[in-house]
Symmetry: C2
Subunit: 191 residues, 2 copies
Amino acid sequence: MPRAGLDPAAVVAAGAALADEMGFGALTMGGLADRVGVRTPSLYKHVAGQEDLVRRIAALALEEAAQAVGTAIQGLSGRDALAAAAHAFRAYVLTHPGRYAATIGIEATGPDDSMAVAASRALDSFRAVLRGYDLPATDEDHALRTLRSALHGYATLQSAQGFRWSADVDESFEWLVDLLDRGLRGSAAPR
Amino acid sequence: MPRAGLDPAAVVAAGAALADEMGFGALTMGGLADRVGVRTPSLYKHVAGQEDLVRRIAALALEEAAQAVGTAIQGLSGRDALAAAAHAFRAYVLTHPGRYAATIGIEATGPDDSMAVAASRALDSFRAVLRGYDLPATDEDHALRTLRSALHGYATLQSAQGFRWSADVDESFEWLVDLLDRGLRGSAAPR
DNA sequence: ACCGGTTGGCTAATACCCTTAGCCTTCAGC
DNA sequence: GCTGAAGGCTAAGGGTATTAGCCAACCGGT
């Protein structure tokens, strides 16, 4: 029996792809084994178990999302940076719904966890956006959470078909970005 | 063997309570059967299966959330109504994390689905909040989605322990409400 | 009071799914 | 070429959702 030439990264990548295609709920060890051409127990040579797999997929997703947002805001600031970050983030979640879903409901085991590292890299990108709005230092964490909540909420609701009625989804998203921009500008430190 | 006196509503209520206590992921047919004092297969006399159970729990959660928001905003308008709605919603999600978690990742089967009905009732409550901000009619759907995204995002992230770092969660939420209020006021129709 | 049908329990059995144990082949380095 | 680790495999066990089929309990009318 020839070897399949797998390694952890390949298994995780295949799992992420499978989750995107079939939905995160349909991600199964058996299905993943089929996809990479191996019997189920063999996966355990590369990954400690399903929870570990999900954790790694989540780390990958956060890494990729941070990357997407980071490059999108290059050279931009203020409203432009905000809009670019928001669009990049939403586009990432919509094209990779399965792997992004892996990130919710997972807790990092510690501060050196690869997921925690990826998450803080993602936050750094958004922090860069906020730098264009000179907020009081004490407001930065609040603004970060607000930004993350709004974008996360919109992207997950849309990807779960949560917006069933009339108005155009892209138009609504522009409106959301506008509101965030106005809100952030209104919070600027008095000078 | 005496009867347990169950009906669908009792099963769903017990399932929702179990999900709140143990976490949505730990909601299992066997565990629910234990809790209501019955063997697992008997549940199928009241509920079509696990998916049906989850769907009904989700509908219940949306119904209750709509109710909570609706009564919270009675007699209020503008910023007060917004703050009351936001607090009521977040409080509901935080006290009932399990049943609210049932609402994510579920699609309504059709417009007459009980979940869809409950969802639109919840939206009506938020629509009432927006009426205090006289927005242009075309912006109402956008504002509704924005509101829902921000509140849903914040509540789910917090309930999933998504906010790990320093700043106070309640303070951040106030900040979010402030930003929404400012943003909405800035979108009022010119007169 | 009975009696028949429906309702709501039950046991048994099936089909997945995740995981562990233990074996055996392949491959890389010496 | 040998040897040891790495990466496949089969077999087996435990958990979960679900279905089939049986039987007792309840409710109505007579």
